[in-house]
């Protein structure tokens, strides 16, 4: 540094630039900080509600799956017993069991579709 004039000049200029840079100040306004805090709190609340809902849905899904498994096993036995009593071919009571299991979901699907069509007709949101 002592022997290099340009290095010395650069160092001095750099020092000056750094000093000038440090002298500049930017401050956040109070309103910005309070608005941000409010937005963050609101979002935190939303996220908390979402996670609670997700937890509830997960628990419900698990419970429904367990119940479905248990009831399917019991129903299978029931259909098997009925088939034996009525002396039906296994394929018939098995199809009966399948239809019995699938019907509620099909009915719910049809009802939901019907409701959507009904709503679309009355609100006009799906009008072409």
């Amino acid at each position: 540094m002592e022997t290099c004039g340009s290095c010395r000049t650069f160092a001095e200029n750099a020092r000056e630039a750094v000093r000038a840079l440090r002298a500049i100040s930017i401050a956040a306004e109070r309103s910005l900080v309070s608005t941000t805090q409010m937005r963050v709190r609101r979002r935190a609340l939303e996220l908390q509600r979402q996670s609670e809902r997700r937890w509830l849905v997960s628990v419900s899904c698990i419970a429904v799956t367990l119940c479905a498994l248990l009831s399917a096993a019991a129903l299978w036995r029931g259909f098997e017993w009925l088939g034996a009593r009525a002396q039906l071919a296994p394929l018939i009571w098995q199809v009966g069991f399948f239809v019995f299991c699938v019907t509620p979901a099909l009915v719910a699907g049809v009802l939901l579709l019907a409701r959507d069509t009904h709503l679309a007709d009355h609100t006009g949101s799906y009008e072409g």
């Binding site: 630039a17 000038a20 100040s25 930017i26 956040a28 941000t36 935190a44």
Partner: protein, 197 residues
């Protein structure tokens, strides 16, 4: 000396651990405290990065929302400020990509209004005027620098970050950070001379 350094490092790690724990819980009180603590530093960084105060304020709010949402990703091995600035930087890049398909280079626009930075000081009126003029020159110089250089200079000399921390924020090698600082300071030289005239 070593004991002091060790104590500082331990207390920083402990603080980072506490912050990480609070962020995982999405503790609103902790976030309030962090917003208060980092308000000026974060806004200053964003103002220099974007060159626009209004945009910087919008991104300031978005950054804290992102901190809340992604708080679980904060690794307590690093300083919180490094992660915070990296989040702000990524949001800024995302914003610029949405408004114009570019990287941080897109933030350099000579035609835009100068960075609005009120200078502060407690010296005499003459000193203040002189200082203000010099600050204005430096601010003007900063505006003409590529955003990467601007970012490196702000993080190094205004935020007092180490070179390693800057490399962490900008996700570039240490050598790149050094060269950006060197080139940034070199590029500011003519503006500094202009201020001295």
């Amino acid at each position: 000396m070593n004991a002091t350094a060790c104590y500082c490092e331990n207390s920083m790690t402990q603080e980072s651990t506490e912050i990480a724990r609070g962020l995982r819980r999405r503790d609103p009180d902790l976030l309030d405290r962090l917003i208060e603590q980092y308000q000026h530093r974060l806004l200053r960084y964003l103002v220099y990065l974007t060159g626009r105060r209004e945009l910087a304020e919008d991104l300031f709010q978005e950054t804290w929302i992102r901190v809340l949402e992604r708080g679980h990703q904060f690794n307590d091995k690093y300083a919180f400020s490094t992660w915070l600035f990296a989040v702000a930087r990524n949001l800024t890049i995302d914003h610029m990509r949405r408004s114009q398909p570019a990287s941080l280079d897109g933030l350099l626009n000579d035609d835009e209004a100068p960075i609005d930075i009120p200078a502060t000081g407690q010296a005499s009126a003459f000193d203040m005027t002189l200082q203000r003029e010099q600050n204005e020159q430096i601010v003007a110089g900063m505006q003409h620098l590529p955003a990467e250089y601007r970012e490196a200079l702000v993080l190094r000399f205004q935020e007092g970050m180490s070179l390693e921390e800057i490399a962490g924020v900008a996700r570039v090698p240490l050598g790149t950070v050094k060269s950006r600082i060197y080139r940034g300071l070199s590029a500011l030289e003519p503006w500094l001379k202009g201020a001295a005239l």
